[in-house]
């Protein structure tokens, strides 16, 4: 997956033309876990939406397997992407299994196959006993697990996550980080994880890409030389602290960049 010179601007009634992404170049290798780290509102989510094909860049090129993202209904060359949003965004009228099976239904798979695959995905995220519950009967952490299972059910080769655990308490967040890292290790999929948490980026990723304040530019690409197998103890490790220090410094430098605004 690669981005070359990607730019994106928006028209805002209050601020005129706002540049969200300014010439980002980024390459992600198959099976790599990359964290996009940046301050709130810097354009990380815009970049992720462009990667998913949900938004279009004004300039530059996005290639997934050598082709631009393809989301056309029924297209045989559809890009096998999954996306996890900032909140769970579940359908309240469907139970857990129904929510998890939804992507397969939309892709046209048979009902029994959808339910069977949904059961497997729900087990993967540790919610095997909650299959018949509705979203209203779940905690915030459980709802995010369902959202993760919904993303995994299609067996995506590329998983994009947009600050998925930001709204959770620290314990739930760390639990889900552990689980996500284990799922990535088990499946070998490529993961791009957007976050504004330095500790989360350090714990999860092989490589952290630090973005500047809006408009997003790459300030630093930093390989995280930490053990492949990561657990709670790693968070107290000196190497972990050093890595977070490097990212902290890069974030500080990125925050000094101001947002150029073109008046309308």
């Amino acid at each position: 997956m690669s981005l070359r010179g990607v730019r994106r601007s928006f028209c805002s009634p209050a601020e005129g033309t706002v540049e969200a992404v300014a010439g980002v170049d980024l390459a992600v290798a198959p099976g790599e876990f990359v964290a996009l780290l940046g301050p709130s509102g810097c354009g990380k989510s815009t970049l992720l939406r462009i990667l998913a094909g949900l938004d279009r860049q004004d300039a530059g090129e996005v290639l997934l397997d050598g082709r631009p993202p393809d989301l056309r209904p029924g297209s045989p060359t559809r890009t096998p992407i999954a996306y996890v949003f900032q909140d769970a965004h579940l359908l309240p009228w469907r139970d857990v299994l129904g929510n998890v099976a939804l992507p397969l239904e939309l892709l046209g798979h048979a009902g029994d196959r959808c339910r069977a695959a949904a059961r497997v995905a729900v087990e993967q995220v540790g919610l095997a006993d909650a299959g018949r519950r509705t979203p209203a009967q779940l905690s915030g952490g459980m709802r995010m697990r369902v959202s993760l299972a919904r993303a995994l059910v299609t067996g995506p080769r590329l998983l994009l996550l947009d600050e998925p655990f930001a709204a959770l308490d620290e314990i739930s967040r760390q639990g889900l980080d552990d689980q996500l890292r284990a799922l990535w290790a088990a499946t070998g999929m490529t993961v791009v994880f957007v976050t504004h948490s330095i500790a989360e980026a350090t714990f999860l990723a092989d490589r952290a890409v630090v973005l500047s304040h809006r408009p997003a530019r790459v300030v630093l690409e930093h390989r995280l030389d930490l053990p492949a197998r990561r657990d709670a103890e790693l968070r107290a490790d000196a190497a972990f602290a050093r890595a977070t220090g490097v990212l902290q410094e890069a974030l500080r430098r990125g925050a000094e960049a101001s947002a150029p605004v073109t008046p309308r």
Partner: protein
């Protein structure tokens, strides 16, 4: 069971107390029964004319249910059409508002000209006054779909039909029921106004009682019409509770 009692007891108690107070006030002040009959006189009229009132109520109820059913179907289809594009909404929504602002009393005679005397004109009147809340509320629900879920459906290549059936219509269901609750009351009003000119049902009982200066019977008929409105509201509310139990 105690939940049901807690819901029903307060309004019933209010009704009983208000009725008792009205009875006492009307008797004490010796108000003419031609102007304002006492609740007991209204009850007596309802008992004596039950053979007229209940069949008339059944006729009105049939027209109300038919009008409301038509409003539901047409209202949902119209909302889907209006939600299909901003251009369609801008072009046609002002004309949908016509159903909201049209004075039904003024156009009821037209309905008789178009549909003839009888049931069809009454159903048309019930439909005209009750369709707009269904359109407006369903449209609001369709427009309020979570954008992230629309993205999710795009991501998995969902077509227009899958989006409508699996996302937009279920999402709009709470709004649809809000519209139906409003429409249920309006359909009763529309049907009775329709009956004033089109004939049949409680509307005709009210007109006849007025001509005979039987104010007690007018009140009894109004009470029956209110009962119909309440029952319809309760039915819609009950259906919505079942349909939205997972929300």
């Amino acid at each position: 069971m105690s939940g049901l009692f807690e819901r029903i007891a307060p309004p019933v108690a209010t009704f009983l107390i208000a009725t008792l107070l009205a009875e006492l006030a009307i008797r004490t002040l010796a108000v003419s029964p031609l102007l304002l009959p006492s609740p007991s006189a209204v009850g007596r009229a309802a008992w004596i004319y039950s053979g007229t009132l209940w069949p008339a109520l059944a006729t009105t109820a049939g027209a109300v249910v038919a009008g409301l059913a038509a409003s539901t179907v047409v209202g949902i289809l119209a909302a889907i059409a209006l939600a299909s594009s901003r251009w369609v909404e801008r072009a046609f929504y002002p004309y949908a508002i016509f159903f909201q602002i049209v004075p039904i009393v003024a156009i009821a005679p037209l309905l008789v000209i178009w549909f003839g005397y009888g049931w069809r004109a009454v159903v048309a009147a019930a439909f005209i006054v009750s369709v707009f809340p269904v359109i407006a509320n369903t449209l609001a629900g369709l427009r309020a779909v979570d954008p992230a879920l629309l993205d999710l459906f795009r991501l998995y290549g969902a077509g227009r039909r899958a989006r409508l059936v699996k996302l937009e219509l279920p999402w709009a269901l709470p709004n649809l029921f809000t519209g139906l609750r409003i429409a249920a009351g309006l359909a009763v009003i529309g049907a009775i106004v329709g009956e004033f000119v089109g004939g049949g049902g409680i509307g005709v009982v009210i007109l006849e009682a007025m001509r005979q200066q039987r104010t007690d019977l007018v009140f009894a008929a109004i009470l029956h019409a209110s009962l119909l409105g309440l029952l319809l509201f309760a039915a819609v509310d009950g259906i919505s509770r079942v349909a939205l139990r997972r929300w």
